[in-house]
């Protein structure tokens, strides 16, 4: 006999935890986003200011710049990860000596904590002691200084993210490729399709759901990157790599502007949802008929 009561009883601990640690904080952040509250500022009182925090966002150059560099970062990082991840997945589909060892080693970055990844890349890129600036200078005569050059700093945050997260993409796409039946590909060979045509007409549509799921996951992760970038560049030089997560952190903690920080958080959540929804509507829904 199935009883609804027992079901709800079993669900209660989960719902309680979700409520206390997920829903309540969200409601609290939403509540704060309509207030001006800086407990360590000149006026420490919490004052209800309607939507003024949101209005302020629109004219806040730092916030807008932060959104722009975050989108740029997310685009370059996620796009590169998908392309490199797919190529690696295809490589792992083939037999070659040492494949198992290489596959294991290649997934190791996934188990490293982001803060450690940030530290290691900082060590590797710090001018005068880092291995990357040293060899770039020795071999190519290039001067790399992520503390001075905004473009280089941005590029290294992207490279670091790619290094850290491509294995996840590889594993997901490898699983998708391995699960594909081989007959449609043989049929395509007989039908006369070239490798590129098979990729475009058969492989890509058949692993589209896996690619999109990976893009969703990686996009949401990239939009909230904080710790790695904080360790590598601290958001600099200037605000060149102050991605939105870092920007919120700066507003909420050093500046203790809780109300405004909450408003940014809410708007970022909204933007993330909208982007995912647009991706879904644009890419998944119309092509989902056959799958």
């Amino acid at each position: 006999m199935r009883s609804n009561k027992v079901g709800w009883l079993l669900l209660t601990p989960t719902l309680l935890l979700l409520g206390v640690f997920g829903i309540l904080p969200f409601i609290y952040v939403l509540f704060l986003s309509f207030h001006q509250w800086n407990p360590f500022g000149a006026s420490p009182d919490r004052i209800f200011i309607w939507g003024n925090n949101f209005r302020r966002l629109v004219f806040d150059g730092e916030f807008l710049l932060s959104i722009w560099v975050t989108l740029k970062f997310a685009f370059f990082a996620v796009f590169s990860e998908i392309v490199i991840g797919y190529l690696l997945a295809q490589l792992f589909m083939r037999e070659f000596p040492g494949r198992a060892v290489f596959r294991t080693i290649h997934t190791l970055p996934l188990i490293v904590a982001p803060i450690v990844v940030g530290s290691v890349w900082r060590l590797m890129t710090t001018p005068s002691i880092g291995i990357i600036p040293y060899y770039a200078n020795q071999l190519f005569g290039i001067d790399i200084n992520i503390g001075r050059d905004a473009g280089t700093a941005f590029m290294f945050t992207v490279i670091m993210d790619i290094w850290h997260w491509t294995p996840l993409v590889t594993l997901t796409l490898l699983a998708a490729l391995l699960s594909l039946p081989k007959e449609p590909f043989e049929q395509a060979q007989i039908d006369g399709a070239s490798r590129a045509q098979i990729f475009w007409h058969i492989t890509l549509p058949m692993i589209r759901p896996a690619i999109l799921a990976t893009v969703f996951i990686r996009l949401m992760d990239a939009l909230r990157t904080v710790d790695e970038v904080w360790m590598l560049t601290g958001g600099g030089p200037g605000a060149a790599t102050r991605y939105i997560g870092l920007h919120i952190w700066k507003v909420v903690f050093p500046k203790t502007d809780y109300g405004y920080g909450s408003a940014i958080s809410v708007i970022v959540l909204y933007l993330t949802l909208v982007m995912c929804w647009m991706l879904y509507v644009g890419l998944v829904a119309p092509r989902n008929k056959g799958n």
């Binding site: 039946p181 007959e183 449609p184 043989e186 049929q187 395509a188 060979q189 007989i190 039908d191 006369g192 399709a193 045509q197 007409h201 058969i202 549509p205 058949m206 589209r208 092509r287 008929k289 056959g290 799958n291």
Partner: protein, 350 residues
């Protein structure tokens, strides 16, 4: 249309040899069925003709052209897979027109050919559907339609009916045969079902363990199987085999003690042989050998009788409706002209 010639083809996977010098000649427009139990190499041979498997030794030619090193797309073949291999994200029309689209054919030509194939297979109303919206039989027809659209020299079918239920299988069997009669294209068809092979083929190739056991027309294989394997494989229910020896000219003595009539064969008395008789070539009547009935299986049109001849089992199919009880003795009459005699050691026909 084209003839297909397979000459002494061998296939090795590393050190394991799975195909041991297979040779088959398929004439232009012929319907040839490769048949045999699982693992006999029939699908591998088909895939080698398609170019999906490399051959280790030997030669395959299609339409007089050696195709050993020719890519599948350049062999002028079309293949229908057991799983149909439809592209799940393409509609029926897109699936059928894909090969032409890849070739860069104009849309009007693709549409016309797809429409023509669809009308042949009665798929016109399904052209906008996706494979998942079709039944097994419809998918099967789409897979065939895709092959027809390409207008190939040779059709290759790899167990295309295995995933269908029994009734649909019979219907599709007829459809494929009609299609062959209509198009006249050479067909190489793989199946493990000997009924399919018997009913559809102009020529059957019986395979076992990577070797050809016998090649011939269906009735030729039925009437003159070259060994016990072919004799047991072709025909349903399977042929009865009874081990024993030639007792005297015209008499067979089974190991189980029964004495059965033998045809005139060049086997001296005392030679160990295998006595083969098809169940449908046994009837019940005066002067027969006494057998004890174990089980009766009435199917309406006929009755299958499982009986014991001494310690040997024998299986007969009779048109009469029997009412005897299990354990009863009945006289089984065997026409010696219908008996097949095989060597006791090699199993080869004597």
């Amino acid at each position: 249309m084209a003839e297909v010639t397979v000459r002494n083809v061998k296939k090795r996977y590393g050190t394991v040899q799975v195909m041991h010098g297979v040779s088959v000649d398929i004439e232009d427009g012929q319907f040839v069925v490769l048949v045999g139990p699982s693992g006999c190499g029939k699908s591998t041979l088909l895939r080698m003709i398609a170019g999906l498997e490399q051959i280790s030794e030997g030669q395959i030619s299609i339409g007089g052209r050696v195709v050993n090193d020719v890519m599948p797309k350049d062999r002028d073949i079309a293949m229908v897979f057991q799983s149909y291999a439809l592209y799940p994200h393409k509609t029926v029309a897109e699936n059928m027109g894909f090969a032409l689209k890849i070739k860069g054919a104009p849309k009007s030509e693709i549409d016309a050919k797809v429409q023509k194939a669809a009308s042949i297979l009665d798929l016109g109303h399904l052209l906008d559907r996706y494979p998942k919206q079709l039944s097994g039989g419809q998918r099967q027809r789409v897979a065939m339609g895709r092959a027809i659209v390409r207008d190939p020299a040779v059709f290759l079918f790899d167990e295309p009916l295995s995933n269908l239920d029994a009734k649909l299988r019979v219907a599709m069997r007829v459809e494929i045969k009609e299609l062959h009669q209509r198009l006249g294209t050479t067909i190489v068809y793989v199946t493990h079902d000997q009924i399919e092979a018997m009913t559809m083929a102009d020529k059957i190739v019986v395979m076992r363990d990577g070797r050809v056991e016998q090649i011939g027309a269906p009735l030729e294989l039925y009437d003159h199987p070259s060994n016990t394997f072919v004799a047991g494989f072709i025909g349903s229910p399977a042929m009865n085999f009874i081990k024993g020896k030639v007792e005297a000219p015209g008499t067979f003595l089974a190991e189980g003690g029964a004495r059965l009539p033998l045809p005139e064969v060049s086997a001296e008395a005392g030679r160990p042989i295998v006595y083969g008789i098809r169940p449908e070539h046994i009837d019940i009547g005066e002067g027969g050998v006494a057998a004890r009935v174990s089980v009766l299986e009435p199917t309406g049109s006929e009755t299958q009788v499982f009986a014991r001849l001494g310690t040997d089992s024998i299986d007969a199919v009779v048109k009469d409706r029997l009412t005897v009880q299990p354990g009863t003795e009945i006289p089984l009459r065997i026409d010696p002209r219908r008996v097949h005699v095989f060597d006791g050691a090699s199993g080869a026909r004597i």
